[in-house]
């Protein structure tokens, strides 16, 4: 293998790496993907939901053949206290439109499928090998060092995920700041397909994406999330790393608080534990994007911090796939010109800047600061609960006027706080 030279070596066989491999191989380039897991996806987890639009561009109608779990038909957002929750639900036929459609996926089913698509186009994969270092000569990245061997290429794509030690080693990326990154932890619980559909009130093949603010994190920035897979329910939490210790609740306990919540536990009753997983989620978004290109190297996907958490939804895989495609197209042009210098590869940054990736990251750049308002995770759910109690609790005593009920709750939350949060929310979202 060491004698062989590739056009492109991609570090990491997740969705960003394989999207790039697919486009490059399709254009006839010699591509090697090096994945440290024993299969693609073995090291990956997602909440999780994939918005289909960017993969739709690469493989139109992909959801018909890809191992997606369910198409999201209902979006739920809850504000939970220990005893209850106020929930907003959105359902619409528009969610079926391929332009908007999103799907729950399990990464060790989905990633191998995408890798196989790239392999069919001619990309080469080696799994179970960790890239230990990059070959750098005169400031130019010329290949990788893995399992004691050197392998050379014109360009290396770093698609090695949120913990991209290689990008850090090159100095393209700083160590992650605790305030800019969250940890996601979930259990995958096995239930039969029909039971899941019945309990979540969806048709066969349809699913629910559900974010739960409040009680579960004990006041830490973050929340719970539930995604229905085909024969599993993914149930977990995301909480900002820098906020751990703000409340007494430990990270593993947060998952239990969600599972034991009175409105949630009946939904997973009788389910069997299948897997317990954890992964970092970048939250700083726009503020933590690293250097994306240098001589002979590009950074894509989670390694490039292309993720946003907007409280009501989290996006990452659609950015990852788009960035993989844009990196590949940049390299195809660079190959035509025979120029893999930093100047030539800067076209990748331009393409990212002009794509929905940077547009969306920029649009939501105030969300991380907005989320630092802890009362959103403590007082807000209590406030909403009090309003609802005023409306729905009937005990035969004379009811108070609606305005009085609401104003009582508003007073407790603080009119200024409420107005401030509302204005900031509108500004951030």
């Amino acid at each position: 293998m060491s004698d062989e030279r590739f056009d492109v070596i991609i570090v990491g066989g997740g969705v960003a790496g394989s999207a790039a491999a697919y486009v490059l191989a399709k254009a006839g380039m010699e591509v090697l993907v090096v994945e440290r897991g024993s299969t693609c996806g073995a090291k990956n987890m997602t909440g999780g939901r994939l918005y289909g639009h960017s993969l739709e561009k690469l493989i139109p109608g992909f959801a018909d053949e890809a191992p997606v779990e369910r198409r999201i038909a209902k979006e739920r957002l809850s504000f939970a206290t220990a005893q209850g929750a106020v929930t907003l639900e959105f359902g619409s036929e528009k969610l079926e439109d391929p332009a908007y459609a999103s799907y729950t996926v399990l990464r060790n089913k989905f990633d191998p499928w995408l890798a196989e698509k790239a392999e069919t186009e001619g990309a080469m994969y080696v799994c179970g090998i960790r890239v230990d270092d990059l070959i750098v000569r005169d400031g130019k990245v010329c290949g990788v060092v893995a399992a004691g061997e050197e392998m050379e290429s014109d360009v290396v794509i770093l698609a090695d995920g949120v913990n991209s030690l290689l990008a850090q080693k090159l100095g393209m990326k700083k160590e992650l700041d605790p305030s800019e990154v969250a940890v996601g932890v979930k259990e995958v619980i096995k239930l039969d397909e029909q039971t899941i559909s019945d309990r979540f009130g969806v048709e066969p093949g349809e699913g629910v994406a559900w974010m739960i603010d409040g009680h579960v994190t004990g006041g830490n920035i973050g929340g719970g999330c539930i995604y229905t897979d085909k024969e599993h329910v993914s149930i977990g939490i995301v909480t900002t790393v820098g906020d751990i210790g703000y409340s007494d609740v430990s990270v593993p306990e947060m998952v239990d608080r969600l599972k034991e919540h009175p409105l949630i536990s009946p939904l997973i009753e009788g389910g069997k534990m299948a897997e317990y997983s954890a992964h970092l989620v970048t939250e700083g978004g726009y503020h933590m994007i690293p250097e994306l290109y240098r001589d002979g190297v590009l950074v894509v996907g989670d390694a490039a911090a292309f993720v946003i958490n907007m409280l009501y939804t989290v996006r990452g895989m659609d950015f990852a796939i788009e960035s993989g495609r844009l990196a590949a197209e940049t390299i195809i042009k660079a190959k035509e010109a025979g120029d893999f210098s930093k100047a030539a590869l800067s076209a990748y940054k331009t393409a990212v800047d002009n794509s929905f990736i940077m547009r969306d990251l920029e649009q939501y750049k105030k969300v991380p600061a907005f989320m630092e308002r802890h009362r959103l995770f403590t007082e807000m759910p209590a406030f909403l609960e009090e309003v609802m109690e005023g409306l729905y609790l009937v005990d035969g005593n004379p009811p108070k006027k609606l305005t009085k009920k609401i104003m009582g709750a508003v007073k407790q939350y603080g009119m200024k706080n409420l107005a401030g949060d509302a204005i900031k929310a509108l500004g951030a979202l």
Binding site: G245, K259, E275, A278
Partner: protein, 100 residues
């Protein structure tokens, strides 16, 4: 298989459902045992999703890399402090998600 909704399933029980290819010879995370800041250690204990950081009876911090989910949270919190070095395990070693 244990029913998950039963209260009190321990974290070790949960990890028992995962597939790990244990690297018995190399720990991919190495602690600085001289770093004794109690608040920092408490944060790590609270943060690790797999609860692999534990205080022993003698007050020593113990860590078992073999149940590691490789998330990186401990490095982000305490890199250069309690965490002396953090790397991905050797290729093919460590956690192997079947679902993810």
């Amino acid at each position: 298989m244990a029913v998950t909704t039963k209260k009190g399933m321990s974290i070790d029980d949960k990890l028992g459902f995962n597939r790990f290819i244990a690297d018995e010879h190399n720990a991919h995370i190495i602690l600085n045992e001289d770093y004794k800041d109690a608040a920092e250690i408490q944060r790590l204990i609270k943060a690790c999703p797999a609860a692999l950081y534990r205080l022993e009876e003698d007050g020593r911090l113990s860590f078992n890399h073999e149940g590691c989910l490789e998330c990186g949270t401990c490095r982000v919190i305490s890199g250069g402090k309690v965490i002396k070095s953090w790397n991905h395990p050797e290729g093919g070693m460590g956690i192997e998600y079947r679902l993810g």
